[in-house]
Amino acid sequence: MAAARRANWTANVSEDAAKAESAEAEWIRLARAGDRAAFAQLVRQHESTVLRVAWRLLSDAHDAQDAAQDVFVRLYDHLDRFDVRRPLTPWLYRITVNVCRTHARKRSRRSEAEREAARDSAQHQSNIGAAEASDWLERGLARLSPRERVALVLRDLEGLSAKEAAKAMRCAPVTVRTLAARARLKLKRLYEAEERGLEE
């Protein structure tokens, strides 16, 4: 009985996924033909994912928003080249990781004063809360190396498999597993150090 219910649920889930994919393929076809409403639909469908990853990788709502725009401009430019039978998400993860890497490099050349101003204006415009922007995870992520950070965000926060994360990072799955493991250890140690600091 339970097995039958589980089988039924699995069938429903895969049916929903298939429906979503066929809707996505249709939006891509329409967007290619110049239908902006269809493209906006694609953006709406994926913007949460792109923004969330960008924000976790850049720790800055303003930069994350810029990066998300870059990602969707690239999507717009690449519409003709997509195989509509394939899901869009893996491509979006890969481009988001790439774009964020470029933004992080650009940002490292920016002065601290500029960054401060950008943060202020972003916090003003954005509905990403200030409390979240300063949470322990944020501080932990900032301590990781760029690659450890990407691996952790994709594996543990986004829940991608090592293989999927490896595709987004353009490296081997075994590298992703090691990077994510090191990142988990660093986060744990940081959290413990903060707790010790609070107790003292």
Partner: protein, 170 residues
């Protein structure tokens, strides 16, 4: 093997990143080592906290991003059109300058080197003055043949050309 050297493997185990065989081997160690087992349970707790923190993120931005993307695509397109227009304008101006220069050069050449156009030609005959000074009447045979002067007026009033042919036809 020292316990610290198992830390990465334990972190992999927590993330589900160990093969079944390696996980089983590690589990046998965890069953007997409180230090490593504590590390495993702490990492597992942190893992849950990370996933919960992520779930609290919600981006609800309407069409802000889509609108920004369209604005950028349109701006890029109009700047491309502008560039094309500017390129064409520059090419047009350069062509006009070259044509103008050619015309000016043509006319300045006419002014400096080429003879002005002839507007009037008149032929006059004159008797050499030396002969006229003599009071003696002249016989027909002796009568001198007059010199021929051709006066050529040009469109330029400053340039008048005289061609003087003597009686010998020189």
């Amino acid at each position: 093997m020292k316990c610290e050297r198992r830390d990465v493997a334990i972190a992999k185990l927590v993330g589900g990143d160990l093969s079944r065989w390696r996980a089983a081997t590690l589990q046998r160690h965890l069953d007997t080592c409180p230090r490593c087992d504590t590390l495993r349970s702490d990492l597992a707790k942190r893992q849950i906290a990370v996933r919960n923190a992520e779930r609290s993120f919600e981006a609800n931005r309407g069409d802000v991003i889509a609108d920004a993307v369209f604005a950028r695509v349109d701006a890029r397109r109009s700047s491309k059109t502008g560039q094309r227009f500017r390129r064409r304008a520059v090419a047009g101006v350069l062509t006009a300058i070259v044509l103008l220069a050619a015309v000016v050069l043509q006319f300045s050449t006419v002014g400096e080197d080429a003879p002005p156009q002839v507007s009037k030609v008149s032929v006059t005959e004159s008797i050499p003055s030396a002969v006229l000074d003599d009071d003696k009447p002249l016989s027909l045979a002796e009568s001198p043949r007059p010199d021929v002067i051709i006066r050529i007026e040009t469109q330029n009033p400053d340039i008048v050309i005289y061609w003087h042919g003597d009686s010998a036809g020189g």
